[in-house]
Amino acid sequence: MASGSEPWSSGVAEEDALIGETTDVELLKRAWRNEKAAPEILQFQAALVLRAREQIQLLEGTVEEFVGNGVDDLAVSLYQMDLDRTQFLLRSYLRLRLQKIEKYMIHISKTNLWNRLSEQEQNFAKRCTDIMEKHLEQSVLSRLPFGYQSILKQSISSEEDDMVPEPQLDTFVFCKTRGDVGAFQLDDTGDEMVDLVADDLYVLRYKSIKGLVENGQIDLV
């Protein structure tokens, strides 16, 4: 954790407490799963990604050494498999986030979701938006009549930006509670309560459990 330089969300304390009992691979797997199942982009796990990278590099070095020293092929191939698995997880995690950024780049850049991106992801999002704007401008927008040339609005009479794709927070997700959460209110009016017990599997509206996902009390599956 000490190596992290990014600002952290409230999930940090939770994660710290769990670190003793789980490996980084487990944590990465959880981050990957949550990212995959959540409709919106989640906080970038900067410290975790950094640690995973370091471990991958370290093992790559070790494997090379092993090959040079003539360590038996079996062990080398097993290490290679471990390496491949971790790399797959890391790559898939990063790629997933890029897909989400591509899809919702304008929405992300307008909201505080922006702070959830890593520096590289922010650069990516900026470049992506620029290119998209330019492309739409050249291919379509410049040929449309005045008042219909915005990339954000359907027409000049729209009060708000109504052509920006947004993630659907109303969607339902499958989730598993990690510990006892207790009685939990599902909507604003308070007439829908569920009692979340450890290891229960529920299908709930993402919006209502968003907070629990962010602070690590619940895992998406």
């Binding site: 797997k29 079996l74 097993l78 897909q99 899809k103 969607t171 569920v194 599997l201 299908v203």
Partner: protein, 211 residues
């Protein structure tokens, strides 16, 4: 709604679910000597011939395929335990029995790669198939009870692969109900004049999105 049906963003592929299952720990009996493995996903070994060791499933399968170990079939995969599970599964139409979260994938991987280590292989195979069928039938009947009042569905003990199979259907069903049941759609016009216009606004906007 369309956003969630994008398979790349929200749904795990079957190989991905299997990938997750491959980290489950299983016992092997190696027939070789090998030093400890210090891997990113944990430390395993050292391994000595005929002395059982715990390793992740992927490692067990890798060793097994090279003929370097026998896999000890987990306890829940015995004919006795599975028969009990199947009976219990049949007796309680509204509950799922406790089985490993990845029972489908684990048993599948063992059938594929270690079938000679499974006592009564055919029996075990057919029991697991029966259990899957019974459980799936329960899921299907459970789906019929979903209505506009459903804000949460509890599926305690449903396994990973089962979740993955029913996910698109359950999510779309719940969303459809949620959408048509929302107060914006059914309240009296004077109370919701304001909201209505929002809903109306949303119609054409959705069509313009690149989905």
């Amino acid at each position: 709604m369309a956003g969630q049906s994008d398979p790349h963003l929200s749904i795990f592929s079957a190989p991905e679910v299997e990938f997750l299952a491959e980290d489950e720990v299983i016992e092997i009996v190696p027939n070789i000597r090998m030093e400890s493995l210090h891997m990113i996903c944990g430390d395993f070994g050292p391994f000595f011939p005929q002395i059982a060791a715990k390793v992740p499933l992927w490692l067990a399968v890798a060793l097994k395929r090279r003929g370097k170990c026998a896999i000890r079939v987990p306890e829940w995969m015995s004919v006795e335990r599975l028969t009990q599970a199947l009976e219990a599964e049949r007796e309680s139409p509204r509950e799922f029995q406790t089985l490993p979260f990845h029972y489908v994938e684990i048993s599948r991987l063992l059938f594929d790669h270690a079938h000679d280590d499974i006592p009564d292989e055919y029996m075990v195979r057919s029991l697991i198939e029966d259990i899957r069928d019974v459980r799936f039938h329960k899921v299907e009947t459970g789906l019929e009870s979903i209505s506009g009042r459903t804000h949460a569905v509890k599926l305690k003990n449903l396994s990973a692969m089962e979740v993955n199979i029913v996910r698109p259907f359950i999510i779309r069903t719940l969303q459809a109900f949620y959408k048509h049941d929302s107060p914006q759609m059914i309240q009296q016009p004077e109370a919701t004049g304001n909201r209505r216009s929002q809903v109306a606004d949303r119609g054409p906007r959705r069509d313009l999105r690149p989905r």
